[in-house]
């Protein structure tokens, strides 16, 4: 395996023709026998969190633990989900970019990021992409491209709810929501290959119905579709009502 540590984004992008981007490495190392080359992103200064207008911008190499230690007013859904994502040691290494590239449907943080209407900057040919579109197109949407930043508009409120086997387990069913100027976005996860953003609906009942629909074909080895559909609706209703009350 060839290992390179590019000093600039341009160098990194150039390397991606044959190399896999290496951020924290928590997923990539386990697949290392099949990897021919990696481009380690640690020297690209992509680990900053900054205010950007009415939102926040995150370098793609921001570590999950940084979300819990940041002073910039990280949305609650993002903090709770980051904490739920992994233990301290992994949070100290795993990155936002890595989550977007490799996170699955049971990733609490990915569910929260989807609810927060996160946008992702890809190089080359700089481009803000909606996270939902990006996830739907994986892995092709990331082929030869480098995630450098994420941005989101700060919601007035956000929240995350899940059901798992234990408090720290990954979710079997989860829902996250965020509110801006009276509008709300809800995302659900726990099944399939990625979380899903719900179609906008009226009130808690509308979102709950939408969640039930989203889980209609969600049966797998971890839960039946009937269970997920019922619980997805309940969690969605709860998180939406909780934010509405505030």
């Amino acid at each position: 395996m060839d290992y390179q540590r590019p000093a600039t984004i341009a160098e990194a992008v150039a390397l991606l023709r044959g190399a896999r981007p290496l951020a924290g490495g928590t997923s990539l190392t386990a697949q290392r026998r099949g990897v021919r080359a990696v481009a380690d992103l640690q020297d690209l200064n992509l680990d900053r969190i900054s205010q950007a207008g009415d939102g926040l911008e995150f370098g793609s190499c921001v570590r999950l633990q940084s979300l819990l230690e940041a002073t910039q007013g990280i949305p609650e859904a993002m903090r709770v989900a980051a904490s739920q994502e992994a233990g301290w040691n992994l949070r100290n290494v795993a990155t936002l970019g890595g989550m977007i590239a490799g996170g699955g449907s049971r990733s609490p943080l990915l569910i929260a990021l989807l609810a927060l209407r996160t946008e992702v900057w890809l190089e080359p040919d700089g481009d803000w992409r909606d996270l939902d579109d990006l996830l739907k197109g994986r892995p092709g949407s990331l082929e030869g491209r480098l995630i450098t930043s994420l941005r989101l508009r700060l919601p007035s409120q956000s929240g995350y709810e899940q059901v798992g086997r234990t408090p720290a387990d990954w979710p079997i069913v989860a829902a996250a929501a965020a509110v801006w100027d009276g509008g709300m976005t809800v995302a659900v996860g726990g099944f399939g290959d990625r979380p899903h953003r719900l179609i906008a609906a009226d009130g808690a009942g509308g979102f709950a119905a939408s969640a039930a629909q989203a889980f209609a074909d969600s049966g797998d080895a971890w839960a039946s579709a009937a269970y997920r559909s019922a619980i997805g609706a309940i969690l969605t209703r709860r998180v939406v009502e909780r934010l509405a009350v505030r």
Binding site: M1, D2, Y3, R5, L22, G24, G25, T26, S27, T29, A30, R32, R33, V35, V38, D40, Q42, Q65, A86, G87, W88, N89, L90, R91, N92, V93, V163, G164, R165, T166, P167, A168, D169, W170, I172, V173, A221, A223, S224, Y227, A230, I231, I234, L235
Partner: protein, 1003 residues
């Protein structure tokens, strides 16, 4: 590639493969063995070190990523305070706190925990309990239940802040007086001994209700530091894999991708031709010797149905070929080059189909050796039928007959150290097997024929073990490197991956259980029946004995009342069948947790159906002291049964003290308590289960010990007993220290080396403190008698007359006369070894017990149920245990805390499942979730001391019983919370939700 690292303050230049993980470089290139291998996906955290002050997992990081960074490993933290003439600062306060508080059991995760604590305290000098648990959130521990490690960090923080901390060996807190129950404080509260108030109290000691007959002791009953704690706190290279040998090869196994097939063709030619491959072995290359991997005394009470390599595979994960190569990468590449053609056979995945007409037959090999009623033509690995009394008559006498069906899952032991073995030829061409095993002597005996060597040409060494829990009571992998060492003449290391632990190691037998109970209106049991269908997987290791325990322990607890107490009516029937799934085997509790889930769920249903108080109903029917263990009259693992009397039973006090601690009276049946203000979807519940276990296997399992004196009055104690992290070396040494009147520091214990230590059956059946302890006491008494004889002679010279040895008392490192004169034991040693009638003062003893005195316990649980989603949260576990005399309250309570935690996983989240073609769903520690520090309920341990007459110090077992009661107590608490019965564990959210919906539909 070239790498520059700053490791522990030293700048280091290295040339490594660019795909090397940091863990491999630390261990193999830098010989820093404190970072441990526990998984390959970063979930267990045993590999963690500090990089630039942050805790990171080295198994999921390329070494190249650390280039230019500053690393700190456990090797940089503290050192042993005694280094001869060289002054040292000693251990770090965190290490000291871990040692003092009993926070270290197997010690495999300890370096990562200590480094996590260093990173935490560097940022937050005054952490809360929750802060510490977050710091540990990525370091999984399977031994401790996290309580003591968390307390250790809080204590260390206080020390670093310069605050006073309470001594760990303060008087043991007693539970509240049952008749004046005003004391409701938690464990460790208050200031025993009139100590001043402290800012930080270290809450690691259990409460103990001492027996009034308990004599004062010097070492027994004291919270002594574990004898191996200092080295484990420093991450010393004490484990099997912590060594390198020149020319050592790495072994890998090719596993079957199919559940059932004949190997039609296998060609290893391309693999053998790969540069760096030293050997590839298939079934065609080694002798075909049938054996059992179950590590048990001779004769093994189970069928011989396995081969090192076979021409047939019986589960996804079964062995197909084994490889030895210069590196792990080459070995893995070689596996890909082995060409195999499988002739698929129908797979049997459902145990209910196993004995059906036309079911696929797993074992048609002519070499198969039956044991008992095993019948491979019916896929039957074991069959048990036990009738005690007259079950049908008892049933006819009942006012009600209540039936139920229950199910328990296949679960994995998940020792954080995987299975690992290193083999090599020594200078005498004897095969040395250095292995992480619970049964070194069984390894030697059972592998000898498989390898074509007599036992005398094999030496088995057991270093420290990173947890076993029964999974290493299996001669499971030692043959792999041994065959390869024979083939290559070179040292070979084989270490399983976490995935292999799930797909190719052992597990707990899953069972379906049917219960039928006859009961009178007043709650007297008249007849009690259990029928079991157990799934042993592809091989019959432990099939008979595990399932025998399911009945003989769990069904022994309730005998009935009145006349039924004299003559209980109990029936137990079990079929243990083969399926094309990974083999089950030994797992802490050994069949008993499988039994107590149905028994205690069923007892709850019976009590509620009759409108009886569940606790009183249980106690009315439970076994008592002075009664026969009912199964002892009918069952002894395939040998002749010998009736055993129960001499000690503290069950009623366990129930009373546990109830008091959890405030049972105020909560049970209190509708207000069950509801959560402001959360209409939540319900609280409280539940109880009574349990019993056994202590050792009577008339069979033997332990030996030898002891000799040294010139300074210290003693070398050699035992075959196998400390797998439980602290057995410590409690054995404490027993020797008590007899010899010396502090624990003067007992130098060495365990488990088949060349040097006496025989011991190994660490299983909760037997070590009891069986091996009795052997230690016997050996120590012999040595003590020689010391007394010599001391009497030495002290008679300046006395008025001859002194009898029987008058000499050993205490405080001296031999004392009744009138207060004394000679030191060191002087006695010098006299014996150098000065007069020279002799080696020593003792050798062994012990086999005629009884298996059961420990008893009352397990309580408090839960919170979300009645809309089925989400269950266990908030509190209280266990009151009668384990006889407690030798070491720290290690014993550590067993209970860790056991309850493991059992909590059995209750709510652990489960191994397979798809329609037998492929495992759970292959890592993300999918197979074990409890982490930051999601634990509150744990509390209470000991009810009884003095078991069959042991010199009155001990009974402690290790396994905490596995038995948590699941049913949680299940009963769920019933209490929301009125529904979940009869299958784990109680997943969906199972509970489905039960709630069924209940809703009915009501």
């Amino acid at each position: 590639m070239n790498l520059t690292l700053v490791v522990n303050g030293v700048r280091t230049e290295l040339e490594v493969a660019s795909d090397s993980t940091l863990l491999n470089v630390l261990r193999e290139d830098l010989a820093l063995y404190g970072a441990k291998h526990g998984c390959e996906t970063g979930e267990c955290g045993a590999c963690a070190v500090l990089m630039d002050g942050r805790l990171v997992n080295t198994c999921v990081m390329f070494a190249a990523q650390a280039h230019g960074h500053v690393l700190e490993t456990i090797e940089a933290v503290g050192e042993h305070p005694e280094q001869g003439w060289r002054h040292t600062a000693g251990l770090d306060p965190i290490q000291n706190a871990f040692v003092e508080t009993g926070a270290i059991q197997c010690g495999y995760c300890t370096p990562a925990m200590i480094l996590a604590a260093r990173a935490l305290l560097a940022r937050e000098p005054s952490p809360t309990d929750a802060d510490v648990r977050q710091a540990f959130s990525g370091v999984l521990c399977r031994c401790t239940g996290y309580l003591k490690p968390v307390q250790a960090v809080l204590r260390a923080a206080a020390v670093r802040r310069g605050e006073a901390v309470d001594p760990i060996d303060a008087p043991i807190p007693a539970p509240p007086d049952l008749f004046h129950a005003s004391d409701r404080s938690g464990p460790g509260d208050g200031g025993p001994g009139g100590m001043p108030e402290l800012l930080t109290r270290t809450r690691v000691m259990p409460r103990i209700q001492l027996s009034p007959q308990s004599p004062p002791r010097a070492s027994i009953g004291k919270p002594e530091r574990k004898v191996d704690a200092i080295k484990l706190a420093q991450g010393k290279p004490a484990f099997t894999a912590d060594m390198e040998m020149r020319g050592m090869l790495v072994a890998k196994v090719l596993h079957s991708p199919v559940a059932h097939a004949r190997i039609r063709r296998i060609d290893a030619g391309r693999a053998r031709a790969l540069p760096g491959v030293a050997a590839v072995l298939t079934w065609q290359d080694i002798p075909r010797v049938v054996y059992s991997t179950a590590g048990q005394s001779d004769p093994i009470p189970g069928p011989l149905d396995m081969f090192s390599l076979d021409s047939k595979v019986r589960f996804v994960g079964d062995r197909v070929a084994i490889v030895a190569a210069e590196t792990e990468a080459i070995a893995e590449a070689a596996l890909q080059l082995i060409e195999v053609e499988y002739e698929a056979l129908p797979a049997l995945l459902d145990p209910r189909q196993a004995m059906a007409e036309g079911a696929p037959r797993l074992h048609d090999e002519p070499e198969y050796v039956n044991f008992g009623d095993s019948d491979p033509s019916r896929n039957l690995a074991a069959h048990i039928h036990i009738d005690i009394g007259d079950f049908e008559k008892g049933l006819a006498e009942a006012d009600s007959v209540i039936e139920g069906e229950y199910e328990v899952p296949k679960v994995q032991q998940v020792s954080i150290e995987p299975h690992v073995t290193i083999t090599y030829w020594d200078a005498d061409d004897r095969l040395v097997i250095r292995t992480s095993t619970q049964v070194p002597f069984h390894v030697r005996r059972q592998l000898a024929p498989v390898l074509g060597l007599p036992p005398k040409r094999i030496r088995v060494i057991k270093p420290r073990i990173g947890g076993g829990f029964g999974g290493k009571q299996e001669v499971m992998i030692e043959d792999v490197p041994a065959h390869l060492t024979i083939a290559t003449r070179r040292p070979v290391r084989y270490e399983t991956t976490r995935e292999e632990e799930f797909t190719a190691a052992r597990s707990r037998h899953p069972m379906r259980v049917w219960m039928r109970t006859g009961v009178k209106r007043d709650g007297t049991l008249t007849a009690h029946e259990m029928r079991v269908l157990a799934d042993t997987g592809a091989y019959g290791c432990h099939a008979l004995t595990v399932t025998g325990n399911t009945g003989s322990k769990a069904m022994a607890l309730y005998v009935g009342d009145g006349a039924y107490r004299e003559s209980p009516n109990i029936r137990f029937h079990a079929d243990v069948v083969y399926t094309n799934t990974p083999p089950a085997g030994a797992f802490r509790g050994y069949g008993v947790p499988q039994g107590f889930w149905p028994v205690e769920r069923h007892m709850e249903k019976v009590a509620r159906q009759l409108g009886l108080d569940p606790l009183a109903f249980r106690l009315k029917n439970a076994l008592r002291a002075g009664e026969l263990q009912p199964f002892s009259t009918a069952w002894s693992e395939g040998r002749k049964p010998q009736p055993e009397m129960i001499h000690t039973c503290g069950l009623e006090d366990c129930a009373a003290q546990g109830a008091l601690a959890i405030d049972w009276q105020a909560k049970f049946g209190n509708a207000d308590w069950h509801r959560v203000p402001g959360a209409p979807h939540l319900r609280r519940g409280i539940g109880v289960a009574l349990v019993m276990q056994g202590t050792a296997i009577p008339y069979l399992d033997m332990g030996g010990a030898s002891i000799k004196i040294n010139e300074d009055g210290s003693f070398n104690l050699l035992v075959g007993a196998t400390d797998l992290g439980t602290g057995s070396d410590t409690v054995l040494a404490q027993q020797a220290a008590e007899v010899l009147g010396v502090p624990l520091d003067d007992i130098l214990i060495y365990s488990s080396d088949t060349d040097f230590t006496p025989f011991d059956k190994g660490a299983y059946a909760s037997s070590t403190t009891y069986i091996s302890g009795a052997a230690v006491v016997g050996a120590a008494r012999q040595a003590a008698e020689r010391i007394r004889l010599r001391a009497a002679r030495m002290l008679s010279r300046d006395a008025s007359g001859p002194m009898a040895a029987s008058e000499i008392r050993l205490a405080e490192r001296r031999a004392w006369t009744p009138d207060g004169r004394s000679v030191s034991i060191a002087e006695v040693a010098m006299n014996a070894l150098h000065h007069e009638d020279q002799e080696q003062i020593m003792g050798v003893a062994s012990y086999v017990s005629p009884v298996a005195p059961p420990p008893f316990a009352a397990q309580f649980a408090e839960v919170l149920v979300d009645i809309e989603t089925g989400q269950l949260r266990v908030e509190r576990l209280v266990m009151a245990v009668d384990s006889g005399v407690i030798i070491n309250p720290l290690t014993a309570s550590g067993q209970i805390e860790g056991g309850m935690t493991q059992a909590l996983g059995y209750a709510v989240c652990e489960e191994m499942t397979y798809d329609a073609v037998g492929v495992a769903r759970e292959t890592d520690l993300r999918q197979y979730h074990i409890f982490a520090a930051h999601e634990m309920p509150e744990l509390q341990t209470i000991f009810i001391e009884t003095i078991e007459p069959s042991h010199p110090f009155g001990v009974k077992a402690v290790a396994e019983i905490p596995m038995d009661g948590v699941a049913p107590a949680v299940g009963n608490a769920v019933r209490d919370a929301c009125g529904v019965d979940v009869d299958v564990i784990p109680i997943t959210p969906e199972r509970l939700w489905a039960a709630l919906r069924r209940h809703e539909a009915v009501t």
